[in-house]
Structure formats: structure tokens, C-alpha cells
Amino acid sequence: MSSTDEQFAGLRKGLLEFAILTIVSGRTVYVGDILATLAPTPFATQEGTLYPLLSKLRREELVDYQWVESGQGPPRKYYQLTDKGAGRLAELAAYWRHLTTTLEGLGR
């Protein structure tokens, strides 16, 4: 398992953006939610990676955030998918399906 982990690190890293867009598409979430959702999956990640990636996605206008007061502590940034982001996600999903069917087809 650990060697698989290591081998495919690059692959997962490339797909992390896809995973985050998927999470954000379902509901409005803050960073804690994203980390918790990803933690049990192979995409488990850390703040140090997530914040720069979210800021890049926001710069590309794929996600947006708004400040929401939380019960305890300071207000939090809640992220949601923009229309452009929804478009990109659909593209990615279609491309991913295309890749997997191609790979399956090659084996035959």
C-alpha cells in the first residue's frame, strides 16, 4: 500500500484540483470541511498545500469565497464553485472518462 502511495504521488497531485472542484461543487465548504472530506481518501492533504491551491483556483475564477461568521472563533472563508468552475469541472470529468475508456480500450 505504501509503495503504491509513493508511486502515484504525482498522479494524485495532478488530480487534487479535480477532487477539490468536485467537493466544492456539492456544497459551500470551508477549508476544514475540505480537509476532513479528503482525509480518509487517497487525496488526503494538508493546509500547506490546500491554501495555495485554493488561492490559485480563485485567481483562475473557478471558485469564489465569502466570509461567514462562525459560532466560535473568527469568521471563515466558505468556498463555492463559480459558473466558470462548473464548466471546468464538467470538462475535467469528461476528459477523465475519455482517459479511462481509452486506457481500457488499449488493453483489449
Partner: protein
């Protein structure tokens, strides 16, 4: 006892132990470096600080108001290394390998936060996953059975084993994975690249730094110690390697012993000549005045001792990298002088004779002076 630093993370104040503060500052500095090209650098840093603040809050309660170094290490591990430009698809095999399976390289460091004397025993304990008290007991027993010889071994270890200043080193001492290692490795790689690209300008930088360091040393030697000055001298942050520090430690020890022995020999020679007119059976030529011989002894001592003292200082500087050298340096010299004298007294009969003689010399000198 640890000094506490109060910091402001996004408008809330937190109290951190000093090593925890150092680790946090190093983490943020590295994050800023990794995000240097990022237009949202400031915002990401604010987000990271807020996340760290939230995590700190998890360790605090009305009964516990200070975040410890261990807790900060854990928090920064949870945070993980800050990725630079995400377009840059750097392979991450290293970090995953340290996160899973074989674990990081374990290294022997002195661990000061659980130290009784200098952290040698707690460092060895951390290395072998043993209670430091067990190691301490073994050391004391060994010292008793070898009639003090192990004390010398301990002192050598005290010099040879670098102490864990940063959380990374602390983690390496305990064999705990520390994800920021990746950042350090990257920083080192970048430093290598940078050194290749601009070795000339680097060398110029280094010369400036060396000069600053020498000035700093001088001001330390004058009894003035300033943390800010230390931080400035440290700024180009050329890392001193582990092996380098071990060698520096051993040299520091050897040179300390040599300078201490020279000092004792010089004092004995001076007094014995002053009073008996001869030095270990050697007499000055009859027509040479006493004061000239004494001056010559002083000059010879200076000529022999100065290079050793300089070597010792350099060793200490390398050993400590940036820590305050001046005061501890002189203190350690006195301690070592005492120890060398003690060992000479116990194990070298000639030296003992000399010392007994010099006692008589000093006594006679004082009676002569007071009468």
C-alpha cells in the same frame, strides 16, 4: 524554564515557548519564500496563520496558556509544507516516503528541553527510545566505576553532539517525521542552484557575512550580547551540516583543553621562575636579567596560545552557528581549565609536584608581597 514569546496571529494574541516561536517564524518565513512569486502571497500567509492559530487554540485551555515547542512541532507537521508555484510539478516522492513506512533519518542531538546538564543523556535517550533517566543512571554508575574517566567522555560528547536548536532537528533527534523537511530539502536544492548560478555574488555575500560575524564576535567578546545582531549575522543562513558540527565540537574540545593546559603551564612557569629562578631545572644564562626572562616567557606563551585560542573560537562559532558564544565560551574555558588541572593532579605525578610547588611559590610570593 523556557522564555515565553507573545505573538499576534490575525488579531489574537498567543503565548508560545521560545523554541515554538522560532519554529513558527521559520515556517512562516519558508512559506513566504515558497510563495514569493505568488500574487496572493499575503492572503495565503494570513490564511495559514489563521489555521495555525486555530490549531494553537486546540492545545490551550483556561488552565494552560502557553503553546509548547512539542505542540508547535505537531501543529506545523499537521500544516504540512507550503507548496510553491503549483505550476511547478516537482516530484514529491521524498515527502511521501518520509510520511509512510521507513521514517526519517534519526540523528543524535542533544535535547535541551529535557536536559539536566547539557542534554547529552536526554539526546541519547531520545535516540534509543529510552528514558533519559536510565541513561543518566548508567552514566553515573560508569563514572563511579571508572573513577571519573566517564566524566571526560561526557564532556567530549557534550561538545561533539550538536544540540537540537530547531524543531526539525528536534524531530530528527526523536525520529519523528517532520514534513517541513521537504521544505528544507528544497531550500537546500535551491541554495545549490543559486550558488551555481551566482557563485561570484554569493562569495561576495559570504565575505560580507564573515566580516559581520567577526564584528559580532568581537562585540560579544567585549561582553555585549544582542539577539538582533545574531539574527543579522545569520541572515544568509548557510546551513552548517551535522557532520561539520560534530567535527567543530571535537575541535572545540581539543582546542579548549590545549589552551587551558597552556594557560596552567604558563602560570606555573611564570611563578616558578619568579621565585626559584629556574624552570624545570633550566636556568637562564647568568647575565640575563629576571624581567627579560619573564617577558620572554609571556611572549612565548602568547605566540603559542593565540593560534590555539583563535582555532578554538572558530570551532565554537561553527559549532553554535549563531548562538551567543562569548560568555559561555569563557565560562567553559574556566571549567575545562579546572578539570584539566584536576586530572593532572590525580593522574600525572610530575604535574602534581609542580602544582604543589607552585602553591608554595604563590604562598611565598604573597608573604613576600605583604611584608
Amino acid at each position: 524554564m523556557e522564555r515565553v514569546v507573545t505573538i499576534n496571529l490575525n488579531g489574537n494574541s498567543y503565548q508560545l515557548e521560545e523554541p515554538a516561536y522560532d519554529a513558527l517564524r521559520a515556517y512562516i518565513t519558508r512559506a513566504q519564500g515558497a510563495l514569493a512569486a505568488n500574487p496572493d502571497q499575503a492572503e495565503i500567509i494570513r490564511d495559514l496563520e489563521q489555521a495555525i492559530a486555530d490549531k494553537c487554540g486546540g492545545y490551550l485551555s483556561p488552565g494552560k496558556t502557553v503553546v509548547s515547542a512539542t505542540e508547535m512541532t505537531r501543529i506545523l507537521e499537521e500544516m504540512g509544507p507550503v507548496e510553491g508555484a503549483s505550476e511547478n510539478e516537482a516530484p514529491r516522492a521524498e515527502s511521501t516516503s518520509s510520511a509512510s513506512g521507513e521514517g526519517p533519518r534519526r540523528r543524535l542531538y542533544r535535547v535541551k528541553d529535557r536536559a539536566v546538564i547539557s542534554g547529552v543523556c536526554s539526546g541519547i535517550g531520545a535516540y534509543f527510545d529510552l528514558d533519559p533517566n536510565v541513561i543518566r543512571l548508567l552514566f553515573i554508575l560508569a563514572a563511579l566505576f571508572t573513577s571519573g574517566f566517564v566524566i571526560v567522555v561526557y564532556i567530549i560528547l557534550m561538545f561533539a553532539i550538536p544540540s537540537a536548536h530547531t524543531s526539525e532537528e528536534w524531530a530528527a533527534a526523536h525520529g519523528v517525521p517532520f514534513n517541513a523537511q521537504e521544505i528544507i530539502d528544497r531550500a537546500k536544492r535551491e541554495y545549490g542552484k543559486f550558488a551555481e548560478d551566482s557563485s561570484k555574488s554569493w562569495r561576495r555575500e559570504e565575505r560580507v557575512w564573515r566580516r559581520q560575524w567577526r564584528e559580532q564576535q568581537r562585540s560579544w567578546n567585549a561582553g555585549f550580547s544582542s539577539w538582533d545582531g545574531g539574527a543579522r549575522a545569520q541572515s544568509p543562513a548557510k546551513p552548517v551540516g551535522y557532520a561539520e558540527r560534530i567535527f567543530a565540537g571535537l575541535f572545540a574540545f581539543v582546542f579548549s583543553v590545549v589552551t587551558a593546559a597552556l594557560l596552567i603551564a604558563f602560570l606555573i612557569a611564570l611563578f616558578s621562575f619568579w621565585t626559584t629562578g629556574q624552570l624545570m631545572g633550566w636556568e637562564a644564562p647568568a647575565d640575563t636579567p629576571m624581567w627579560l626572562v619573564l617577558v620572554i616567557i609571556c611572549i612565548v606563551y602568547g605566540a603559542i596560545a593565540t593560534p590555539f585560542a583563535a582555532l578554538r573560537r572558530t570551532s565554537y562559532a561553527t559549532l553554535n552557528g549563531r548562538r551567543d558564544v562569548g560568555v559561555t565560551d569563557d565560562f567553559i574555558t574556566i571549567v575545562i581549565a579546572a578539570l584539566v588541572a584536576w586530572f593532572a593532579w590525580v593522574y600525572v605525578p610530575e604535574a602534581r609536584l609542580l602544582m604543589e610547588q607552585s602553591y608554595v611559590v604563590v604562598r611565598d610570593f604573597i608573604t613576600h608581597w605583604t611584608n
